[in-house]
Amino acid sequence: MPIDLNVRIPGLERLDEFEDMAGRLGLTGIAPSVELDKPVVVSRKGLVLYARADLKSKRIGSLRKELGLLRRRAVIVAFPLAGVETSNWAAEDRRVDLLTLREDNIGSTLKDSTAHMAEHSGTALEIQFAAILQSTGLNRSRVLKGFREATRTALDAGMKVVLSSGANHPIHMRSPMAMTYIGFMIGMDRVDSREAVFNTPQQIIERNERKLSSEFVGPGVEIVK
């Protein structure tokens, strides 16, 4: 089931427009940046909304505190790739779902060692393709270079990759099929690209919904009635 894990809705009053577009494009769920009442909300139009939180702190100590506060409230927790120390911390922490690469941190590189740590902890690399759509010429070439290098490093290390729109306008969203072609452009093959759009987001959501349920105690330990 195709889910767009990052839709940057400017305000709740515009949620309807994004829901309409997601429905037209065949998406079954989106993770909007706006605050939701519950981690998972089913809209009147049948679209599933997943709460998403982006970690903003700069130091490991404050990141830990922020993560502790947000983890139970959000289905998706993402950390924008930054310095080696914080990126390694986020890659190692099983509570962080995504290491994000977007237009404002395109200069950050995903190191091999970080990618291997992320692979062990099940953290995926998130590519927000709004940066490609909104740039042209040499700037787009630089964005593509950053995305292609990070994707190559992630796939070589066995790390999962997720493609999300990062759209701040409904028309910037793309259909799941269109997203797979963006995957080809950043160096993925057909299998990896389909995985990044159709399977990995769903797997992350399912894993976290299990963790957020009241029966979950710890990894591998659940209350069975």
Binding site: L133, T136, H169, A178
Partner: protein, 101 residues
Amino acid sequence: MKKTRKRYLRFTLHRNGAEITEKQFSNAIWSSLLSLYGEICTADSKFYLNSYDAKKGTGILQCNAAALEKVIASAVMINSIGNTRVSFEPMKTSGTIRGLS
């Protein structure tokens, strides 16, 4: 000369604004293809817009089978045409037009 294999694609062009004419849309794909993949690939693609309904935004395009992925990726990359923001959605590909229905 060896005959190249063709591929057809049924698509929908979602838009937020005024209607896009066939000429505008075709030019936008040519420009995007040229910008992303260069002159040789653009020449070899044999891209052609078979049919296009400007009102509904649906249509069929054809191109060289080897260039299909590049043509679709180029179309997906189009963000706006004129002052109209657009989102290209590939629906179905086939080796024949009949296969698209």
